[in-house]
């Protein structure tokens, strides 16, 4: 089966990852998956504000996900929406298990993610970018988090669906995982899929996460070790 952009079913869109793109942040990263581009900037650990939100025994992780107005074909209204709030939450929950938050009690780690071009799979790109940015900021982590979506288009389980496929897809299944720990930190399902297909899609996604992990590692190495 040929996909709309000529990829194989188990092929990722071309991925570009760059670390250290925002000079003012403690750590930052840009992740481009096909036409989806996410930029993440990490600040902290720094003072929690407002103060009553401090957590006594660990750092608070705050994620802000935003589609910038020009990222979509129709203008995306700036400011939090129902959708972006949900994505903030799932991104935070996908990243939290990877970070040693208990090392910085009463502080706050801010992760700002801007999608500057959206072409489906923005939350997975956002998680990939945020994970690289957190590592780039030197925040203690158990593992890098990698994320990719799988789905069903027609009769086939395909990997990393883009916008043209998302419009006709039966199901979209974003997954984030920590490969070393073999833990899944995000699993959502948009649509309906039999158990057999879910398993297959998960296997496909987790397999391709390894490729993404390598890219993330390379990006960090390129940033910090010249030559």
């Amino acid at each position: 089966m040929k996909r709309s952009d000529g990829r194989k079913p188990d092929e990722l869109r071309p991925v570009v990852i760059k670390a250290g793109v925002v000079p003012n942040a403690n750590g930052s990263a840009m992740v481009q998956m096909g036409r989806t581009i996410a930029i993440a900037a990490v600040y902290g650990p720094r003072e929690m504000f407002p103060r009553h939100k401090k957590i006594p025994d660990r750092a608070a992780l705050e994620t802000v996900y935003a589609l910038v107005p020009f990222s979509t074909t129709d203008r995306a209204r700036p400011g939090p929406s129902r959708r972006s709030k949900e994505i903030c939450l799932v991104i935070r929950e996908a990243l939290e298990p990877a970070i040693f938050l208990e090392e910085f009690p009463k502080t706050c780690i801010n992760v700002y993610i801007d999608i500057i071009q959206a072409d489906a799979g923005t939350r997975t790109a956002a998680i990939n970018a945020a994970s690289v940015a957190l590592a780039d900021a030197g925040i203690p982590m158990r593992d890098l988090v990698t994320s990719v979506a799988a789905g069903k288009v027609g009769k086939d389980i395909v990997l990393d669906i883009d916008m043209t496929e998302e419009d006709i897809t039966k199901c979209d299944l974003p997954i984030a995982c920590m490969l070393r720990e073999k833990k899944i930190t995000l699993l959502q399902m948009d649509g309906d899929l039999p158990v057999k297909d879910v398993k297959e899609a998960m296997k496909l996604a987790i397999k391709s996460c390894e490729e993404l992990y390598k890219k993330q590692k390379e990006a960090l190495k390129e940033r910090w070790v010249k030559k």
């Binding site: 403690n26 750590g27 902290g44 650990p45 720094r46 003072e47 929690m48 401090k54 990877a98 040693f100 910085f104 009690p105 009463k106 502080t107 590592a135 780039d136 900021a137 030197g138 925040i139 203690p140 982590m141 158990r142 593992d143 890098l144 920590m178 070393r180 720990e181 993330q216 590692k217 960090l220 190495k221 910090w224 070790v225």
Partner: protein, 283 residues
């Protein structure tokens, strides 16, 4: 040679357990060692029988202790650190100082060398908002409760000069072993330089531009061998003749560190001694 056999055996057994070379770049979660013969040090953690990197950095192996030289982090105040901060607020009994960290530091009246009668003197006459000070972290009761003091001999208020900021992770390298690197820059440029553990570097007089160039060189190439030579080359414009004692090659993680860390180091040294002794006695 025969005496060292048991030790050798242990080494050869443990050697393949090391998955990374000394000074190799690792990202968080990367496996460094798969063996129980090593101990996780700074910036590493153990899980099962393996040691993993906690943050991105370069592997640093000190006999059996595996640690990481971090390449980047946000400054967290530690007891005994000298920091450069800016006074941002004045309260009844002290000053609030921004030290580029997870929280602002508090400089109480008791932390100032001279006696101040608050009924007669305004605190702003001692340190006004916007003043830059070089202070010592005197108390960290909580990550969000940090006190600094100006009682240390090195402490002072800066007047004039220039301020450049570097990555706090590179500060130990800029200072060098026993201050060798900063001394080199000071000697060659004639600048007065104060380095804060939190990142800012204050300098005044002499060839300031040259010194700033050197500081940025150290920041960018901290992990490449022969840095001292390159710095002196930059400052003098010609390759330096090799000094009798070779300048440091490896930066120790956090050379100017809190006493707690020194205890850690000395304890490993003690361990090493203890490890060798029984073997010698055995043969």
């Amino acid at each position: 040679m025969a005496e060292e056999k048991p030790a050798e055996k242990a080494e050869s057994k443990a050697e393949p357990a090391l998955l990374k070379k000394e000074r190799e770049f690792v990202v968080p979660g990367e496996k460094i060692v798969k063996s129980m013969d090593y101990l996780p040090g700074r910036n590493c953690f153990r899980e099962g029988d393996s040691i993993y990197a906690k943050r991105l950095g370069l592997v640093f192996i000190d006999s059996r202790v595996i640690s990481l030289i971090p390449l980047n982090f946000a400054y967290i105040p530690k007891f005994g650190d000298m920091v450069i901060g800016e006074v941002v607020d004045i309260q009844e009994n002290g000053w609030v100082v921004d030290i580029d960290s997870s929280c602002n530091a508090y400089l109480p009246l008791s932390g100032v060398r001279e006696f101040i009668d608050t009924t007669k003197t305004r605190l702003s006459r001692v340190y006004a908002v916007g003043d830059l000070i070089y202070a010592k972290v005197s108390q960290v009761t909580d990550p969000d409760r940090v006190q600094i003091s100006m009682k240390d001999m090195m402490s002072r208020k800066f007047r004039g000069g220039r301020l450049v900021s570097i990555n706090p992770a590179k500060v130990p390298r800029l200072i060098g072993k026993q201050g060798s690197m900063i001394k080199l820059i000071k000697d060659k440029t004639g600048c007065r330089i104060s380095v804060g553990q939190n990142g800012p570097v204050w300098l005044e007089g002499g060839k300031e531009d040259m010194a700033i160039k050197a500081i940025h060189l150290v920041e960018e190439e901290s992990y490449i061998d022969g840095l001292t030579d390159r710095v002196s080359e930059l400052l003098t414009g010609k390759p330096q003749e090799k000094p009798a004692v070779k300048p440091e090659e490896k930066p120790k993680p956090q050379e100017k560190s809190a006493p707690a860390v020194n205890v850690e180091h000395s304890s490993t040294a003690v361990q090493r001694k203890l490890n060798i002794k029984p073997e010698e006695e055995g043969k």
